[in-house]
């Protein structure tokens, strides 16, 4: 108990802050902050596994998040039968060609000795294969995109409940991480950072522009929900009764029956969106707790000890007979898969998939700030980082508005400088994040809750 005091204190402060938002602003805002904090926590856990456990730097978080989001679309949207009829055959043919190409390359790699001829022939196969696929898929893609472009214009998905996509998103992200890891993990730390950053940009470019698969920048809206809809709740009896019970004190004060009914209706509308958000919070909490248990178990297992050994001294670990390359690849895949889950959760909560919104600032660098600020190597720290940083990211604008008004209280509203400052309030969040990161790196380089290894 004693040694965990700082963890408990930090989390209680965080909870109090969120409750204060609920009391002073609104419960709706508080819950949406809380939900995104939970999603951020999942992302930071993924990044923390890679950076904190193994010292691998992954600046491609944005790419894995987007792949998780794509999984949510592909799982939950109903298949567009017409599009499948129009171009499904061509797409399947191209898929088949890709499989054949990969098999041929594998065969050549296995069968022949390493030589210049082998390298050139593989390059030739890849280039001609890409051209062939492009030409064979072209009519199919055009046909698919022509099917009712205002509404569909893509193949659609499988029409399954969206919750499955959380697993599929992990698989997608893990698959990409396997390829990236095979290619890039041999690089030195800062090169790996740049390479993963650029690869994630390539992933986003593909998601943005392959309209037949993802609908691209036209976005996919109205995804299915694992939670009830507000409109349905507002007409359900048990929900109205529940709201009435909760607010009985407030309602009984109102004498007039019509007024009381109007007040109740208002409360039901507000309550329904709070209820939906609470449903999401419950689902997300389950995910966070499961992941936390698994990652904690892993951290204190022999495997976790091995990872720390590899992180702290790669050569020594190698000399002890640990397969560094294989373990690096494994942890890269695991961490990315967790980020993929978070990506799917995010799209599930928003109910829409907007490829244009994936930007490295928000989905890569901000997550890294969370990991560093919270405390890399410590799961509780990483989760706390997700909470603190996301909270500040959202609340930075109101806080800085308050501060500006406070310090310029004597200056009239019409003052140009004051007006300019108030206008640029949204950008103070960048300043806050940057200064926060710099101060933490300087004065508390291990984060708010530093890594603590107990030898049991």
């Amino acid at each position: 108990m004693r040694k965990n005091l700082n963890v408990i204190a930090a989390y209680s402060i965080m909870m109090v802050l969120i409750l204060m938002v609920g009391i002073f602003q609104s419960w709706n805002i508080a819950l949406s902050i809380f939900n995104l904090c939970l999603i951020s926590a999942v992302m930071t856990m993924g990044a923390n596994i890679q950076w904190g456990y193994a010292g691998l730097i992954n600046f491609g978080i944005m790419g894995y998040t987007a792949l998780g989001g794509l999984a949510a679309v592909l799982i939950s949207v109903d298949p567009v039968q017409e599009a499948w009829r129009a171009g499904g055959f061509d797409i399947l043919m191209s898929l088949w060609l890709i499989v054949v190409m990969v098999l041929v390359i594998r065969f050549i790699l296995k069968r022949f000795e390493k030589s210049k001829i082998r390298t050139y022939s593989i390059a030739a196969i890849i280039i001609s294969g890409i051209l062939l696929i492009r030409f064979s898929a072209e009519p199919g893609i055009e046909a698919i995109e022509a099917v009712d472009p205002a509404k569909t214009g893509f193949l659609g998905g499988f029409g399954l409940p969206i919750i499955f996509s959380w697993i599929v998103g992990a698989l997608f992200a893990g698959g990409l991480a396997f390829i990236v890891g095979k290619v890039a993990l041999g690089l030195r730390a800062d090169y790996l950072a740049i390479a993963t950053l650029l690869i994630s940009e390539i992933v986003i470019a593909i998601i943005k522009h392959e309209d037949w698969l993802t609908r691209g920048v036209k976005n996919v809206i109205g995804l299915k929900r694992p939670a009830p809809y507000e409109v349905d709740l507002q007409t359900t009896d048990w929900f109205i009764k529940l709201v009435e019970k909760f607010n009985s004190g407030k309602l009984s004060v109102i004498e007039n029956l019509a007024d009381r009914q109007a007040a109740l209706n208002q409360l039901v509308i507000e309550g329904s969106s709070v209820f939906v958000k609470l449903c999401y919070s419950g689902l997300f909490l389950v995910v966070v707790i499961i992941l936390l248990i698994l990652t904690q178990k892993a951290l204190y297992s022999p495997w976790g000890r091995m990872m720390r050994a590899i992180r702290d001294n790669e050569e020594a670990a190698n000399a002890m007979g640990k397969n560094v390359v294989k373990q690096h690849l494994l942890i890269f895949i695991l961490g990315s898969a967790i980020v993929g889950i978070a990506g799917a959760m995010l799209v599930t909560q928003d109910g829409l998939f907007t490829p244009g919104s994936y930007r490295p600032m928000r989905y890569t660098f901000l997550i890294w700030v969370m990991v560093i600020v919270g405390g890399s190597g410590n799961n509780f720290g990483a989760i706390l980082g997700g909470f603190v940083v996301w909270f500040l990211w959202i609340e930075a604008a109101p806080i800085s508005l308050f501060l500006i008004n406070f310090f310029t209280a004597g200056i009239p509203e019409t003052n140009a400088l004051k007006a300019h400052l108030i206008e640029s309030v949204p950008y103070f969040r960048f300043l806050l994040m940057g200064l926060g990161l710099l101060f933490i790196m300087r004065y508390r380089p291990k984060g708010i809750l530093p890594e603590k290894i107990e030898i049991k």
Partner: protein, 336 residues
């Protein structure tokens, strides 16, 4: 005649734009490479530092415009650039003093430097947006074209026009002058040589009496000049928007690494490699083949290898391939 038309077509749509874009990238790439070679970290704040320098230049341009000072046919920004540079260098030295110096004295690993530079990136981004806003700004004035496409057609009687924007000529000219001066400085002067020595082997350089403080100072001064001029030229040619500058960091990194990081000449050429491959691979060659091939063989499709949406992806793919097969870059930079 058709052949001449085809050449003009390529000049107008590929060669000149790529040369301009390449010059802008090259200046940024030399900036990245210098910081990497001498201060030994990957500077993730590159794009935002360039946008800071451009912002200072724009503010001075507005000031001069309000005074009524102009350069006639040339853009007023050229007059404002030196003041922008002074501002930029001042800002960089400030950041170095309060942020990077501590980690340099601690001899922190490069990864930690990179993380710190992300903090600087956030702060710089905030400063730029708070001062000038996130919107799109054009600050070009003066004569826009040197040769207009229509005039060129009338002059030569060809089907294809050649448009030459004055910003393109200014960009290429300034880049050539600046890069020649820089290489002269690095290879011929004593300070430049000591910078090279410091980059090659820090301990040996310190032993032979080179003052590290001076090296760091000179590096930031050169970096400030490169960042401001590179950024301002890009802003003149296209437009200034903080978010675009942040994004430009990626092809700039690609150029620096493709050229061999730590090697200024490699970075210079890397800029053009990236620019040309981006434009060559995404250009639709239909018209070119219509001129060159006989009528019976004319292509039906656009003859475009990749759609223009994948412009950025091209340079990143090149970078990834280079990183895997030749991590030291095409022109042999630091072996990592």
């Amino acid at each position: 005649m058709d052949f001449v038309n085809a050449i003009i077509l390529l000049l107008n749509y590929i060669f000149i734009p790529a040369l301009t874009y390449g010059s802008q990238l090259a200046l940024g790439a030399i900036f990245v490479t210098l910081i990497y070679g001498i201060l030994r970290f990957a500077n993730f704040a590159t794009g935002d530092m360039m946008s800071f320098g451009t912002m200072a230049t724009i503010l001075f341009t507005w000031y001069f415009q309000s005074l009524g000072v102009s350069l006639g046919v040339l853009p007023t920004a050229l007059l404002a650039i030196p003041f922008g540079i002074i501002f930029m260098i001042f800002y960089m030295l400030l950041i170095d003093k309060f942020v990077f110096k501590y980690y340099r004295n601690q001899k922190s690993p490069p990864v930690q430097f990179a993380m710190v530079s992300i903090g600087v990136m956030f702060v710089t981004q905030a400063v730029v947006r708070i001062i000038i806003g996130p919107g799109d700004r054009r600050f070009f004035d003066g004569e826009k074209f040197i040769i207009k496409a229509r005039e060129f057609k009338e002059m030569t009687g060809l089907n294809e026009g050649l448009a030459l924007k004055s910003t393109q000529v200014i960009t290429i000219f300034v880049t050539i002058v600046l890069v020649s001066l820089l290489f002269w400085f690095l290879n011929r002067t004593k300070t430049g040589k000591s910078m090279k020595a410091y980059s090659d082997n820090e301990d040996l350089a310190l032993l032979s009496g080179i003052d590290p403080k001076k090296i760091v100072l000179v590096t930031w001064v050169i970096a400030g000049i490169l960042a401001t001029i590179g950024g301002a030229l890009y802003g003149l040619d296209k437009s200034f928007k903080p978010f675009t500058y942040f994004n430009n960091m990626l092809p700039i990194f690609a150029a620096a690494i493709v050229g061999g990081i730590g090697n200024p000449f490699g970075a210079f050429l890397g800029g053009y490699v990236i620019a040309f491959s981006e434009i060559l691979l995404t250009y639709a060659y239909k018209k070119f083949f219509m001129y060159v091939l006989p009528e019976s063989m004319e292509p039906n499709s656009l003859v475009q290898l990749l759609s223009t949406d994948y412009k950025f992806a091209v340079s990143f793919s090149i970078l990834v391939i280079v990183l895997i097969y030749r991590p030291s870059g095409i022109f042999k930079g630091k072996v990592l």
